[in-house]
Each structure stands twice: as C-alpha cells, then as structure tokens.
C-alpha cells in the first residue's frame, strides 16, 4: 500500500506498531508534531501520554516505565536531548531498554529550529558521563523512520540498552510517498533467544525482591560491571552494523553520508553516473555501531573519500579512523541548520578529481 506521511508522524505510527506503551515529552520544534499526534491517539489506545514539565522529567519517567518492562519512549530536539544526558547515562548503567528520538536542530545552545546533524558526537560517544554507548539509528527516509521506530523497541530489549533514533528537522518536517509493502528500509532484528524479562521490577509478590541500581561502590565492582558492558557493546558491534553501498565497486570518489545528507549525496551519485563519472556512496545506517570494517575494506580499493555532513566535520573523524590512512579524505559540510546542496557537492567532487 502506498502511504503519504510526514517524517515525524511516520515515527509515531511506527512506534505504535512496535508496541509503544508510554510516551513522555516536553515540546520543542522541530518535533512537536510527535507530541500532538500522540496526545490525540495514545489515550484512545489505552496507552500513556504525558506532556511533562521538563526534558529531565521526561527521561526519568522513561526510566521508571522501562524498569517495569514496558516499552517507553521520549522524543526531543538537540537542546532537549542535552538536558536528558544524565538520565540516558543512568538508563545505560541500569541496562534499561527504551527508545529516545532526537530530531536534530542547529546548535550549540538554543541554536535555531532548522534541521542539522550537529549532534553526531553527542549521539555516538554516549553523550553523558561514564563509559557507555547507545545504539544509534540514522534513518534517511520517511519509510525508514517508520520501520526503525517499529523495530527499535525489540533492538533495545535484545541488548537491554537504550536505542537512539536521530534524524534532522528536514526529514522530520518533510512529507513523502512510500510503499509499505516493499522490503526497502525494513530493519530486521535477529533474535537467537527470546527476550529476557526476568530482571523487571513488577512487585515482588511470591518471589524474592530484585534490585536495579547504578551505584556500585564495592571494591572492583564497578570495573567488573564496565567490562560486562564492554562485552555487550562488542557483541553489538559484531552483530548490528548496518550500512548501504551505492556504486562503490568502481568508484573514483566515494561519498560518505547519512540521513538527509545521504539523500542529497544519492541525487549527486545518480546525476554523475548518468554522465559516466564514477562516484559511489557509503551510507551508514547505524552510527553506533559504526561500519568501520566495511569502510576499511572499501578504502583498499577506493582512494578518495568525500564526507558530507550537516555539521563541520564529526563523522569525518570516524571515516578517518575507518580508512586508517588508506585513502585521502575530503570534507564538505554546512552548519547552523543549512542544508548541503547537490550543486555544491558536485563542485567539490570536480575539485577533487582534477
């Protein structure tokens, strides 16, 4: 069936389809359509909708719901996500599955309300304090927003870890026709065993009480826990990398972009391929885990990379790490809520080739 939805509304429909139980949020542009939609729909479905007094409250209510094994979600935009970082660190420390959505806008500070990708570092390096990561999904179409939202709870529960879905305000605001039947954009989660919910706190009736906490003061206790988390992140890195390649095999220059930047890159790739100019694109779909190995393999053949982002060079550092000196890395980015332009990418490619 063909559908037409705004990015933010696709997120709502996907999350409901994915079994959302409770949603808590504080308003902020460019993601207010999400709260507006849930305010209308969730009570009718007998699910929880709460517009709370602050982002700090929102993330801590997610924490509370997640403790009980319910599927909880919050959404915000960049400044609001910064406020949530303490809570996200606690969620990771307590290994609580939940979904957090960042519809990114320009920063730093309050910045502006236009779409951006300036929160790449914050998203992929944990964001708060301590040695932790969230799984980061970066959809690039309305369909992917829908599909990722649908499966993100399962992914979070599989690893008992928060999943962060990030996309820029442009994707959130745009409407797009998409086909729900096709395989494209679907997120397959492989489960070797059933989801373990033996840890949830649901009242100790007829069983010994359980305890979930992040304060680990005993000698060596915290380091042991850190190592356990690392083991989990290593498994995630091994199993959950998602990346898409377009015409990379014979590419003279390989573009690297995610989210909205990848869409503009793809327009460039198709445009230049028609003129027999050999350009490819690598599109990381998971930003944590990042496709280091996959990009390293490509850097054995392709010697020039052009990283395109709506910031001043953040994923650029991961591409440098991935290529490990094998290739020349160029960068083109726009900041402050400006969108990358296809014409400007083409000019940059011409500079690189000549």
């Amino acid at each position: 069936m063909k559908k037409i939805l705004q990015g933010n509304i696709a997120l709502c429909e996907g999350a409901i389809e994915g079994g959302l139980d409770a949603y808590y949020a504080y308003p902020i542009t460019p993601q207010n359509e999400i709260s507006a939609y849930f305010a209308e729909v969730l009570p009718k479905l007998d699910k929880i909708f709460l517009q709370v007094e602050s982002e700090v409250a929102a993330i801590n209510m997610v924490f509370g719901s997640a403790l009980t094994g319910k599927r909880a979600m919050t959404t915000s935009s960049s400044p609001g996500i910064s406020l949530m970082q303490e809570g996200i660190s606690y969620l990771c420390a307590c290994e609580l599955p939940c979904v957090i959505v960042n519809v990114m806008r320009g920063g730093p500070g309050l910045g502006n309300i236009s779409g951006s990708q300036q929160d790449y570092f914050q998203s992929t390096r944990g964001g708060g304090h301590g040695d932790y990561y969230t799984i980061v999904l970066a959809p690039f179409s309305v369909k992917e927003i829908y599909e990722f939202a649908k499966k993100s709870f399962l992914l979070a529960e599989k690893y008992r870890n928060p999943v962060l879905i990030i996309y820029d305000g442009y994707l959130g605001q745009m409407m797009e026709v998409f086909d729900t039947e096709t395989q494209e954009g679907k997120l397959e989660i492989k489960l070797e065993k059933d989801i373990d919910k033996s840890w949830i706190l649901d009242g100790a009736k007829n069983r010994p009480p359980r305890k979930i906490r992040s304060l680990l003061m005993a000698e060596g206790e915290l380091e042991k826990f850190n190592l356990k988390l690392k083991e989990k992140y290593d498994i995630i890195k091994e199993n959950e990398v998602r990346v898409e390649f377009y015409y990379v095999d014979d590419a003279e220059v390989c573009l690297v972009g995610y989210g909205m930047s990848a869409r503009v890159c793809l327009e460039v790739v198709n445009n230049l391929r028609e003129k027999a100019i050999k350009i490819g694109l690598i599109r990381p779909i998971t930003l944590f885990p990042f496709p280091y190995k996959e990009i390293f393999e490509i850097s054995k053949k392709v010697k020039k990379f052009l990283v395109v982002e709506m910031n001043l060079g953040q994923m650029l550092e991961d591409v440098r790490i991935a290529t490990n000196g094998n290739a020349e890395i160029f960068f083109y980015g726009r900041a402050g809520g400006s969108l990358v332009s296809a014409d400007e990418i083409i000019n940059k490619i011409k500079e690189i080739i000549n």
């Binding site: 063909k2 037409i4 542009t29 460019p30 309300i113 442009y170 605001q173 745009m174 409407m175 797009e176 026709v177 909205m260 869409r263 503009v264 793809l266 327009e267 198709n270 969108l339 332009s341 296809a342 014409d343």
Partner: protein, 181 residues
C-alpha cells in the same frame, strides 16, 4: 515526469495547503512526491513557502534547487524569491497582489530559458467566489491548465477527501478549482 515546484506567499494564503494538495494528489496518480515546508516563527501574515517534487521515480532530495514551476502569491515573496532564482518553465504570479518591478522584468527578459509567465488575479477571483482563502485553489486551476501536471479530476478527489467533513468549504474549493474553466 519530473517537476520541482516552489510555492511562496504569505501565511494564511494556503501556501502549505497547496503544497500538500499536490503531494496528496500524486498518490492518486501513482507518482512519487516529496513536500518540504519552510517552517519557522512565521504566523498569519508572515512569509510562507514550500517545496514540492513530483516524479515517476524515487526522489532523493526534497529540496528544490532548480524549480521548473514557481507559484508566487504576494509581493514580498515576489521581491524575495524571484530576485533570487527563476524557474525553468513556468512562473505563476498572483497579479491581484503583485505589482511587477522593472529590475525583475529585466531579469526575466535576460533569462536564457524559455520561461512562460502566467498572471492570474487569484485573490480577486477568489473574492468573487466568496472567499479570499481559496485564492490558492484558483491559482491551482491555472497551474493545471498550463502545466497539465495532474488531471483536474485527481485534484477533485483530493479536495473531497480533505474536506469530507465540511461540504460547504468543499463546494467553495471546487468552485475555485473551476474558476478558470
């Protein structure tokens, strides 16, 4: 088919609605389409604009960089956007609210592309129909007539869906759609 459409006017003129009507209609005609609104602190009376792309294949970027069609509904948008870029094929101007400027006329005269300018007194016609707010649909009827991007019947279906709960508003919109017949 591949069209990049840029629509601008003032908040309250139905600029974003017009864009959405085009996108919804593309679903009727089995086309791919994207819609991107210019959003901001704009309120009624501020500038509003949106970008629509319609194509037979998947559309990568929703951002209109080289419009084929431009629809300009008021003077501030005419001054702001037509000075900045011109479309490849059609420029629609709401002549009720736009007083053409010499420097922009010169720009158009020196423009190398075969650009057709269509002036429609959309606001006046809408007023005669009985509602200023349907000036966007009056303009749409001109766009359909000139560009043939959609069948008028497909737009009718879209309008019927949007205004299914308000027959009176639907009638006014349908009248506006037939205004130039």
């Amino acid at each position: 088919m591949y069209e990049e459409i840029f629509i601008a006017g003032s908040g309250g003129q139905g600029i974003l609605s017009l864009g959405k009507i085009l996108v919804y209609t593309s679903l009727q005609e089995d086309k791919y389409a994207t819609y991107y609104p210019s959003y901001g602190a704009e309120v009624r009376g501020g500038t509003a604009s949106c970008m629509v792309k319609i194509s037979d294949r998947f559309i990568y970027s929703p951002i209109v960089e080289n419009p084929t069609i431009m629809i300009i509904m008021n003077l501030p948008s005419y001054l702001k956007f037509v000075r900045k870029f011109l479309p490849q094929k059609f420029l629609f101007l709401n002549s009720s609210l736009i007083e053409e400027k010499e420097d922009i006329k010169d720009l158009i005269k020196n423009y190398p592309k075969n650009l057709k300018i269509i002036k429609v007194s959309a606001t006046e016609i809408a007023n005669k129909i009985g509602s200023t707010v349907v000036s966007n649909i009056v303009m749409l009827s001109a766009v359909l007539k000139e560009t043939k991007i959609f069948k008028i019947d497909s737009i009718k279906i879209t309008l019927e869906k949007i205004f299914s709960k308000n027959k009176k508003v639907l009638q006014t919109n349908l009248k506006a759609l037939n205004a130039l017949e």
